[in-house]
Amino acid sequence: MPQWLERELEERRLNRLDLLIWPVGLAVATLWALPFVWMVSTSFKFPADVMTQDIEWLPSRVTFDNYIKVFEYPVVRWGINSLIQATLATFFCVLFGAMAGYALARMHFPGRNLLFVIFLASLMIPVEVSVIPLLLAFVKVGWASSYQALILPAIGNVFSVYIFRQFFLTFPAELEDAAKMDGAGPFNLFFRIALPLARAPAIAASVIIFTLNWNSFLWPLLVTFDESMKTLPVGVAAFTPVVGTRTQIEGYSVAMAAVTILSIPSLLLFCFLQRYFIQGISQGSIKQ
């Protein structure tokens, strides 16, 4: 290895393996970013420029018509629905996940570990299996096509329980002891001591669960019967061009504009909370 490279590695506190890991990581990251770049780029293209002989990564001519066309539909209404659904579902999901995670990590009761295994095992049940009985249940109680129907099934999320359990496993026992000595019961101990200190896992869980809910498609599609209760992904699906017609070509750029709008909130959330997100995800996997 040339001397200048060795010096460079030492300065940047990297080892030789990093020389391999970094280019591979960069290549994978680029591969993942390409569809996103293509989506944003296409959303600013004229319909005629979408299907071309040569790949046009950046549009040669820029237009905002696609976005204007998208807003001819009740996109704002769908967006509000999505926002209400995703925000409330995330709030309750994180709150209950933290409570369950805390109980599973810090409270001693018979069957604690078995319960956690059952929680994890529920991840193996595909959504498609439970979605029809769930729909029938909501229709029966008269909650179909309502916010309750959009939010309630999304509250129970095992991932949130898992991420909080891992965090609370590493929670200092002395803090709990100090709180008990100070006279805090389980309720105060959780809400005044444990939860305020669980900012990193709360943010990580919030970003992931918000994104999941924001992008949720199958359940909102089945449970919303009228246009005004549709969520953004369900509404945007209407822009999908039908194969074999002229709209296939004309519609692509409009569809991409719609999907770009759809992805903005998750993207912003991730960008702002990236630091906490990575901290929360890696909790427990590395020695703190």
Binding site: P172, E174, A178, K180, M181, D182, G183, R192, L197
Partner: protein, 371 residues
Amino acid sequence: MAAIELKNVAKSFGNVAVIQGVDLSVEHGEFIVFVGPSGCGKSTLLRMICGLEPITSGALSIGGKPMQGVAPAKRGVAMVFQNYALYPHMTVAENMGFSLLMERVPRKEREARVKRAAETLQLGELLGRRPKELSGGQRQRVAIGRAIVRDPQVFLFDEPLSNLDAELRVQMRLELAKLHRKLGATMIYVTHDQTEAMTLADRIVVLRSGVIEQIGTPLEIYAAPRNRFVAGFMGSPKMSFLAAKVVRTSGREVTLAVEGMSPATVDIELRKAERLADQVTLGIRPEHFRMKGGQGPRLQARIDFVERLGGDSYLHAPDHPAGGLIIRQSDAVPVKPDAMPVTIGVDWPEVHLFAAGGQAIELKRESLSES
């Protein structure tokens, strides 16, 4: 009525007994130190007193009231933890006032009590800061302040100074002693540092494997350890132990032979006649060796290593045939490690004798000084 009374208190984790039938009575205003090696059960005993660890059997009373089923916060005790255990998201004032908030003490009174405790500990300037903005010593003072605010009958300290550097530890030790004098409250303090135990305690409780080995004032324990474990544990550097053979016994008179000692046999008189096994152990503290003089027999030993502490030096002679020696030398001229053996005198009236099982045998010291 004692401040704290433990009667035959025991604690087991599954089949492992960590505290075995402890009896202890702590008087009001006493400063008691639990001392012992790691894993001896001293912290567990403290946690049992404050209610964080349930008692397997036996009875505990605080201020004359039985404590069975009483929650930690209702026992009238406050605890200072080893790692401070301050709530990182709260300010110093919020940390100190948290217990009062839990007791639903009105805000004004809460603030007044926090302020009073902060003045006692000179924390007034720091009330708005969070724990991460404080130094180790300041954090420890906040932890103590949090305990004071509750105005408890009993303070419990679980190795509170072990995370501080040497200088700060000495300073905080003095502050704790002053605080005890000022508040006059009962204090129980856990440490594995025998210097802390000696300097702070009214009485020391020496523990080993969940059993109390000895209870006494620091000087009692230092001067008259009940067994070889206590003798070895209390005192730094530790007592030197020499293997001795019992050559002859006649009533209270015993003649011992110690390898590497001249004369070859020495007489010793016991306080009362006892049947001794063939092998016993002589115990000599570092300050009871003399490089020059000494009233008793002499030992030949090769000095292998010298620790110089400024005023004092400690000479190590690990190869002595009867057992390794550690000798304190306060003279200005330090001895250097040398291949040639040197002659070391012993203050014979100060020696300790231990039976084969480790228990101390009482000596008639007046007669030793005559020999």
